[in-house]
Symmetry: C2
Subunit: 352 residues, 2 copies
């Protein structure tokens, strides 16, 4: 029996457990230090995850962090990092402490890393280096991308996802563990592009959503209406800049044109915390105000991605590797995030 | 003073008059035989177009078809076809009857043509041939594409549009007539790609919208919620197929990646009649049932585009110019349109 240990029982870590459980994999779902209440809820009579609203398959073993031991990792074929980016260090620390043998490390965590304080890169090299340093060797790695709202995965809505890694055999083995009629897994060898898009689309979604609140319906119009002309211009611009940034980070543009880039951007604009932050800053709030207000206590991945991107990008602009004029939307977003000034969407600059 | 004669006073013909009128162009807005009530409404005290909900600039001259004469065309710099595809023949007939000199012919009409009963092509060659046949020569031609909801253009929401033509000087002259702070005009030399995308995105939007009603929220969920995972998979697939079809019709893939393709697809999925038809057929209705029901009396451009595309595409598949397997979404849409059978979205086939 295939055994999968998932670290992090937030919505994404828990949702991805479901297709694998339906495929009769043995699942150990481990709550992070922030997840005790989630584990309690799933261990209750309803077995329902508060963020997913569906009962978890009964066979999934639920473990609180305080109870976690080497035993839970024994014989694992896959260890899956299911945390959001602030939990990455915790997840890696736990893996290094408990892991035995050479399970494949899968990751749904999305973000970028700032290496040596100045080079923006995707997360897998950071993961590899951490494991090398603490374990003496990295683990086989498979990244997870593509358009996935966790709740919809949990409900069994048709979902197309992409697993990426440098060893096709290992990627395909993971695909078989998770593939379900309504959880379709494509594979790619462009791990860097997959990870780059997974992070960048969060940043871009902030900008597109901001165009909605920055261009509200006219007085007297249906207040629920969203103006789509400005959003469409931003969406197309975001797509172009995402593809360029993907390539700059070492990925392929085609990956940005596919499910990991375009597909995921489409989902992210329409749902989730990045889009909610965009609505706040499009209405005139600074990022710090929004994060202290409507989004207090929440992780908005695009903000962290913005900080990590800004440093490397400034260097790329200054040394001429990239032309700043190609990135008006990214530039406006990074200014609002890093300098904490009101977001100037200046859509006109995209379009002329 | 620049003079522009617009044929067709539906939402698009009327909306595009507004930026040009604000630029102090002389505008003659001509109602089609179906537009008498629209002209009456705009000539009333409110000057409001019923489909746009904003007052038209007072300087626009409003003309009913019965009153149209050569005089209205005298000195025109541009004649703009503002009709939907069923009105194209009427518009061309009127141009041939009244036009003097060599004004530029602009066109917002979107659709495809079936040449010799078997070759699918964009509209400009049809227009050119018609003018050649009746006038002895074609007119300089500029197509209009990009993400434009007419009502938003009329309201002055920031809009990015694309004018395309083979003579850069003429395209740029048109750009200057219409360009406004909130109506930004990009230009392209890829007229074929522009026209191909303008038509194909309508077809694709039907399929993406269908994914929403085909995958409704679970019982107990917010009924207004739309599941985005299936839609994102369809959106990405639509994008890929649109780019291939654009290229097949003689356009450039980059045009499909830009505002005329991706940008316009984003808008069209979220608003308008193509998307409404998609919601109907995704819920199980045949196209004929939807067109006799919720969409009775309306022009759904994607349906006509589907019929025109189906013939040429069948030929391209049979002679090996294109691989049918590359077009699962297009294939499913064409089957539902041409054979009038329930739409089988079979999303899984896109993703594996």
């Amino acid at each position: 029996m295939t055994k999968i240990v998932i670290l992090g029982s937030g919505v994404m870590g828990s949702a991805i457990a479901i297709p694998a459980a339906r495929n009769a994999c043995e699942i150990v779902l481990v709550g992070s230090p922030l997840d005790n209440e989630l584990i309690d809820a799933m261990a209750g009579a309803s077995r329902s995850h508060p963020g997913l609203g569906v009962p978890m398959p009964a066979a999934i073993e639920l473990v609180k962090v305080a109870d976690l031991s080497d035993t839970h990792f024994a014989g694992a074929d896959v260890v899956l990092l299911g945390v959001s980016s602030p939990g990455l260090e915790w997840g890696l620390e736990r893996i290094c402490r408990h892991v035995q043998g050479r399970p494949t490390l899968m990751m749904v965590t999305k973000g970028l890393d700032l290496h040596d304080g100045r080079t923006t890169r995707t997360l897998p090299p950071l993961v590899d280096e951490t494991l090398h340093r603490r374990l003496g060797a990295a683990l086989p790695f498979v990244g997870v991308g593509g358009p996935c709202i966790a709740r919809e995965v949990a409900e069994g809505q048709p979902t197309a996802t992409v697993f990426g890694g440098t060893d096709p055999g290992i990627v395909d083995a993971c695909r078989k563990m998770f593939q379900r009629p309504n959880y379709q897994v494509r594979t790619t060898g462009d791990l860097v592009g997959l990870e780059a898009c997974a992070a960048i689309k969060n940043l871009m979604a902030i900008g597109i959503a901001a165009s909605w609140s920055a261009n509200p319906p006219r007085q007297g119009a249906d207040p629920g209406r969203r103006n789509m002309n400005p959003a469409a211009g931003c969406f197309q611009q975001a797509f172009t800049e995402m593809a360029e940034l993907c390539q700059w980070l070492g990925g392929e543009k085609e990956t940005a044109y596919g499910l990991p880039g375009l597909g995921d951007l489409f989902v992210t604009v329409n749902a989730g915390r990045n889009s909610r932050l965009g609505l706040e800053i499009g209405a005139g709030l600074r990022v710090s105000q929004a994060m202290a207000g409507a989004l207090a206590g929440e992780t908005v991945e695009g903000v962290d991605t913005g900080h990590k991107l800004a440093v490397g990008l400034a260097h790329a602009f200054s040394c001429g590797d990239l032309d700043e004029a190609t990135f008006p939307l990214t530039g406006a977003l990074l200014t609002s995030i890093v300098d904490d000034v009101p977001f100037e969407i200046q859509t006109r600059s995209f379009w002329t």
